[in-house]
Amino acid sequence: MTKLDSVRGTKGDVILDVKGLRIRAKSKAGWAEIVKGIDLTLRRGEILGLIGESGAGKSTIGLAALGYVKPGCRITDGTILFAGEDLSELSEAELRRLRGVRIAYVAQSAAAAFNPAHRLIDQYTEVAVVHGIRDAASARAQAVELYRKLHLPNPESFGERFPHQVSGGQLQRAMVAMALACKPDIIVFDEPTTALDVTTQIEVLAAIKDVVRDFHTAAIYITHDLAVVAQLADRIMVLRHGDLVEEGNTRQILEQPSADYTRQLLRRDPPKRDTTTASRNILTVSSVDAAYGSIKVLHDVSLSVGEGTTVAVVGESGSGKSTLARVVTGLLPCSKGTLMFDGRAIDSSLRRRSLDLRRRIQLVHQMPDTSLNPRHRVREVLGRPLSFYHGLMGRLRTARIIELLEQIELDPTFLDRFPEELSGGQKQRLCIARALAAKADLIICDEVTSALDQSVAQGILRLLMDLQKNLRVSYLFITHDLQTVRAIADEVVVMNQGRIVEQGPKDEFFAPPHHPYTQLLLTSVPQMDPDWLDSIRETRAALARAVSLA
């Protein structure tokens, strides 16, 4: 037994002590510092929240707590003291003995972290068995117990399933169970709920909160969402560009933040505007059914989008909201029902639609990274629709491209850049400009802000609103985020399992009485209140039952 294996302290002892941590990452331009001298202390039984936007270095710090740096990065300075030993000086073999046993990690995407070829329980028992902590039989028994604690369905047989046979939220909880397998001293949670729906997020958050409390495990919880971390953390560190902005108790950070940046993160009220009503409809969808092969995903969907207004389609993953977008664009012809655009019935199949119709309905995708060709410069991205639809060439075309760039608040120096030279927000702006270049009348926005940081997303929303005011363009805005809906929508359509459960003007949507499913969605949005999670669990359980009965 070495020193590391024998240390088991009492609550309140410092378990992890990071001093002056500096990490550099290799880029084309050379080595850039991504963590700039961070101090961090974690005590037994304490949950520390690391919060910041992308590029803040929070995940890098979280991984460093495991003594790990990503390929292409290296620790240049500082110490990571875990139970008295510096992790940055240990060999790989020594680290391997600690990881999973004394320090565990829960990744953002459980789907990517599990091996699809093995049953959940086999992946669970592997850690304990490999490290010689317990034999397979007792590890299995323990797994069932943990599955029960985490409220997984049929805990006895749950582990026999393969990763693809369970839902995203269940998989994330199975990974939490795996992290707890060896009763570690520290668990690092790296955005474990970011990829989940709001209603699922609550369940995972509650499960994490319970087990961490029961096990007296210290945890580092990494997220970009202050409201989420507020439910769990005792203490919060706000990070930006690899620097510490502010550190303090959760309540103190939420109620009296001292840094401007924290206040900016706390300010969740997105841009607001008055709702408008349209004189006529640009798009009317009437009792549409659609199916992928034999699987029917849309049932009798009807909605209309008024000219110059925004209709938000809200729902969780699998609700059919993206399929609706595909039907309107013609990518997926509907099996029943009709589509009307600008007063005329239109063909549901893309192939039979005229060029002019294609021009007037434009789609902006969720991920700007995959919707811009990495080999096309900005000039070509915007220039192609201009010459393709409007026959613009040469100097006229360049002038129009610059005009479009101005509309999305980018300057002409962007003309010859490739997408990889743009930030996420700039890429999404470019995608919007591409739709504007076609002079679209209806832009379908498919979760356009969900891949972006909050402040960037708000910039995009403002841009969309300004464009609507100036150009009278209509939006069919697909989202799962109710904050966004509050900001941008004139009308709201709520979808669940391929059906519309509620629709109407925004103000009616946010005012009671609600449809049970709408209320479930509304109450699932985390609030900036540390007591919110505990207070809401009772009411939510009742609502969830009501929805499943309905």
Partner: protein, 303 residues
């Protein structure tokens, strides 16, 4: 029509802060890349350059003509005939030099043709999909089911061993491998949102193939070109060695090995020289391909 810029929070512009790299021009970028290239890449580059120069200026460099009989059979290495003479009394060095032109040239032509056929068919299969993909893929499977050398032998016996039939038969057989690669790489790109955007816009197949998909799968295709070139080269030499490749008196490295093979029994290494020439070129091309792949895939060596 522009909106005030103060709307967007300062965070939004972060990556734009760094000074924008003006497009340095392809030539400058190439020079820069060459400067940082490893020794192996330089070695490959020099070898390939020498082969190309020798092939282009064969008639100027070679001391004697291609099929000219200038001495007696199997002369040893002398000042007059640096590498001796062959089984008919032709100068070996001269034939080696002309062989570079014939073999390398034909291999290059064949590989290009294979890429034209296989690459475009693979792209069409990947982007169009459906029954077109099925039909093409099954056809290619059938072609690939027969061992390549035996298939080539068979077809050459049927159509006769002319340069035209040699090039087209090997090109078609090699196109099967290119098809597989282009289809697999193209499929990864065809599902991207930007291809969907182009489809929604109403772009034709040619635009989608050449402007949206092809530029993104170029690196693996170019790397494959280097490797395919070596295989084609070896296949042509093998066929020549068997006597149905390039026909005499055309100088060709494969047939040169065969014609002079008997010398090996007397401990003379001359017949191995064409083989060495083939091996050296193959090594050189592979070094170049390695370097190119590393540069374009962004797989920088760990420090």
């Amino acid at each position: 029509m522009s909106t005030p810029a103060d709307h967007s929070p300062p965070l939004n512009i972060a990556p734009a802060d760094r000074p924008h790299r003006q497009d340095p021009g392809r030539f400058r970028a190439l020079l820069e890349g060459l400067r940082r290239a490893p020794v192996s890449a330089w070695f490959g580059l020099v070898i390939v350059a020498i082969y190309v120069l020798v092939a282009l200026f064969a008639s100027l460099i070679a001391p004697y003509g291609e099929g000219q009989v200038v001495g007696s059979q199997f002369d040893p290495w002398t000042a007059q005939h640096l590498l001796g003479t062959d089984n008919l009394g032709r100068d070996t060095l001269s034939r080696l030099i002309y062989g570079a032109r014939n073999t390398v040239g034909i291999a290059f032509l064949t590989t290009s043709l294979a890429f034209l056929i296989g690459g475009s068919a693979g792209l069409v299969a990947a982007v169009v999909g459906g029954w077109v993909d099925q039909a093409l893929a099954r056809l290619i499977d059938i072609l690939m089911a027969v061992p390549q050398l035996i298939f080539a032998l068979l077809l050459l016996t049927i159509f006769g061993a002319s340069v035209t039939s040699l090039v087209s038969i090997i090109a078609v057989l090699d196109a099967t491998r290119v098809f597989r690669l282009a289809r697999a790489a193209g499929m990864n790109i065809a599902v991207m949102d930007y291809v969907e955007v182009a489809r929604l816009r109403g772009e034709g197949l040619i635009w989608i193939l050449s402007r949206e998909v092809l530029p993104n799968i170029l690196p693996p295709l170019v790397a494959e070109f280097g490797l395919r070139f070596c295989f084609v080269f070896l296949l042509i030499s093998s066929l020549s060695f068997l006597g149905i490749g390039l026909q005499p008196p055309t100088a060709d490295w494969g047939s040169m090995v065969r014609d002079n093979a008997i010398l090996i029994t007397y401990g003379d290494i001359t017949p191995l020289l064409p083989a060495a020439a083939i091996a050296l070129l193959t090594v050189g091309v592979n070094f170049l391909v390695d370097w190119f792949l590393r540069e374009t895939s962004g797989l920088d060596d760990e420090t």
